[in-house]
């Protein structure tokens, strides 16, 4: 676990808040799924919170994030309020996608959450495209793709990294290497599982970090985002992490992986490790963290109430917005 003393207290607390927000929200969604309140798939981010948190801490609302089936954490870290996420999974009109999307289609362009995708791969290309826009428009915005180890063996990885590199686009590729794609182990999908090493082969900046160490992610992302903003081109950060719940709610957890492996990663929980560390370092107090914990509990409780009380979308609107029409 990296040193925390160089990071301002506010930032440390903010990192903590985001991680706890994701965790509590995910736990709630898992309960709601079990209760039948969520009808579609629900892939939680539990265990991986440090990644989205460490990266999105450097992003502005006008930076564009593109994500995956496992996108709740990215959405929350990018600034989607929990109530809009919960309402979306509850299928309500107040959800961030108006109930049209559910877990795998989260859209909040207002805060730069440009969508999660139920198909593996496209987010890599779309972030590259956002980078293309930003370079063409000569802004200092950044496109960011989050994706799993499963996407590494997909053609989109190859084509996206290559285009971002040759055109020096302001893009950050964040690979969440949690060692499995559904129940298929990454080591069975690739002979060489060193994602950062392979990415470097394209000619971009690439490094691997401990994805359960929010400070490590934060620092790597800091450099990468700054480089992108300054015209220094794309980077890839491989975050080695683990999901401690099943691939999706309702699925089995073991079988393809040992209980021992799961337990060993639970022991490296990113939130526990970080809170122990910042308190030990004397950067913050246990009371500071407790205040946040309490606020988040209240926030999630409110989010569920909000979602529960929200109206269903009107079936009469079901075919709206397929087309945008001609621009003026």
């Amino acid at each position: 676990m990296k040193e925390t003393m160089t990071i301002p207290k506010d930032t440390l607390l903010s990192l903590y808040r985001t991680m706890v927000r994701i965790r509590r929200c995910e736990e709630q969604l898992a309960r709601s799924y079990a209760a039948g309140t969520i009808t579609g798939a629900c892939h939680t981010y539990v265990g991986e919170e440090a990644v989205a948190t460490g990266v999105c801490a450097h992003l502005r609302d006008d930076d564009a994030v593109f994500s995956t089936h496992r996108g709740h954490g990215h959405a929350l870290a990018k600034g989607v309020p929990p109530r809009e996420l919960v309402a979306e999974l509850f299928g309500r009109a107040t959800g961030c996608s108006g109930g049209r999307g559910g877990s795998m289609h989260l859209f909040s362009p207002e805060v730069g959450m440009m969508g999660t995708s139920g198909i593996v791969g496209p987010c890599i290309l779309q972030a590259t495209g956002a980078g293309y826009s930003f370079q063409l428009k000569e802004t200092d915005q950044v496109g960011v793709a989050f994706f799993g180890d499963g996407a590494v063996s997909n053609g989109a990885f190859h084509e996206g990294l290559n285009m971002a590199t040759i055109w020096d686009l302001p893009v950050l590729f964040v690979c969440e290497n949690n060692m499995y794609a559904t129940e298929v182990a990454f080591k069975d999908s690739a002979r060489n599982t060193d994602v950062a090493g392979r990415a470097a082969g394209y000619g971009l900046h690439a490094e691997a970090v401990d994805g359960n160490d929010v400070v490590a992610v934060y620092e790597a992302a800091s450099a990468a985002v700054a480089r992108a903003r300054q015209g220094g081109g794309p980077s890839l950060i491989e975050c080695r992490t683990y999901r401690t719940r099943p691939h999706a709610e309702g699925m089995r957890d073991g079988g393809y992986r040992s209980q021992q492996e799961i337990d060993s990663w639970k022991a490296r929980d990113p939130i526990t490790a970080f809170s122990r560390r910042v308190v030990d370092d004397g950067a913050v107090t246990a009371a500071d963290l407790q205040t946040i914990d309490d606020a988040i509990v209240a926030e999630i409780t409110e989010a569920v109430a909000f979602a529960t009380d929200s109206p269903w979308p009107d079936p009469a609107t079901v075919a709206d917005h397929i087309y945008g029409g001609v621009a003026s």
Partner: protein
């Protein structure tokens, strides 16, 4: 027919198992189809029996493994791609359209293309827009494919067995809502030929050609309609390519009225093709225009009330039949 009842998925799996026993060149590719036995249990228990080379878990590279299957089929093996959700087929449309569909033709029949492509289609359960597609019109438009849409366990087994003996590429499309439906299925192997529709119920007022889940919905509407004096003939084409037009025309000769009920999209869809063919060959038999009932032409929304609004219901079938009978 045997009285034993098993599920649609079990029935298809029985056919696959028997074929794999018989033919060592059959192998299955997909994500989680090995030890895990498939997201929908399509290959449950087969890994233990046939091992990793014949039940091969793949990386997430649909285009890649469809391309791999093309080369495999050209060199004497019979690949089965288990897409889980058929939506994942879309990254491989180039391989399908320009390679798989064309190689028998381009080689003048010297190469065969026995690739079976299977997956779950359709809307339901909040699967949302990336896990709810059907896409069969594409594979009807492009020459070279066989397209199979079984609706009963009996048909799932018999058509799967035929598909696994076919030298042509076959799309085997299993609707979500049918996977757990149970029905009588013989234990032994049997084949149902492609291009033979099933008349599921006889009637005289209106013909309904129903695709996939619209078959049970249409059948469910029949009794009420019968009570109203509308006698419905329900036809399940079972395969869309080849299409058994004769059975449809024979029915229309009797009823003079045809509804094509299909969850998938209307424009350039199956209903359009059937309507155009029936008009072309049975114009004088038609007492009213061929009508189509389709899912709403929109990406599939997640929220339950929105999802319900895009799928044709039994009530909508009944209403469409009533309107047609009154025309």
């Amino acid at each position: 027919m045997s009285e034993r009842e098993i599920s649609y998925t079990e029935a298809a799996r029985e056919a696959l198992t028997a074929a794999m026993e018989r033919d060592p060149t059959i192998f299955v590719l997909g994500e989680g189809i090995g030890e895990r036995g498939g997201n929908f249990n399509t290959t449950l228990g087969l890994y233990e029996r046939f091992g990793p080379r014949r039940l091969r878990d793949t990386p997430i590279c649909e285009r890649g493994f469809v391309g791999l299957c093309t080369g495999a089929a050209m060199t004497g093996t019979r690949p089965v791609v288990d897409f889980m959700f058929i939506d994942f087929i879309l990254d491989s449309v180039g391989e399908l359209t320009n390679q798989i569909a064309k190689i028998q033709y381009m080689s003048g029949g010297r190469l065969k293309m026995p690739v079976l492509l299977r997956g779950c289609v359709g809307i339901g359960g909040g699967a949302a827009t990336h896990h709810s597609g059907s896409y069969y019109p594409l594979f009807l438009n492009v020459p070279g494919f066989r397209v199979v849409v079984p609706t009963t366990p009996y048909d799932a087994k018999g058509l799967m067995s035929t598909a696994l003996r076919s030298d042509d590429p076959v799309l085997f499309l299993e609707h979500k809502s049918l996977l757990n439906v149970r029905g009588p299925v013989p234990e032994e192997e049997y084949q149902i030929p492609f291009g033979q529709a099933q008349v599921c119920r006889q009637g005289t007022t209106v013909t309904v050609v129903a695709i996939g889940p619209l078959v049970p919905k249409s059948l469910a509407a029949c009794d009420t309609l019968a009570a109203e004096g509308i006698s419905v003939e329900v036809i399940d084409p079972r395969t869309l390519a080849p299409l058994d037009l004769d059975t449809i025309l024979t029915s229309v000769r009797k009823t003079g009225r045809l509804l094509v009920a299909d969850e998938s999209f209307g424009p350039c869809g199956v209903g359009a093709e059937i309507a155009a063919q029936v008009m072309a060959q049975g114009f004088d038999d038609l007492a009213a225009p061929v009508r189509r009932l389709n899912g709403v032409h929109t990406p599939t929304p997640y929220s339950p009330p929105l999802e319900a609004a895009v799928v044709p219901s039994m009530d909508q079938v009944a209403a469409a039949v009533r309107d047609l009978a009154a025309e």
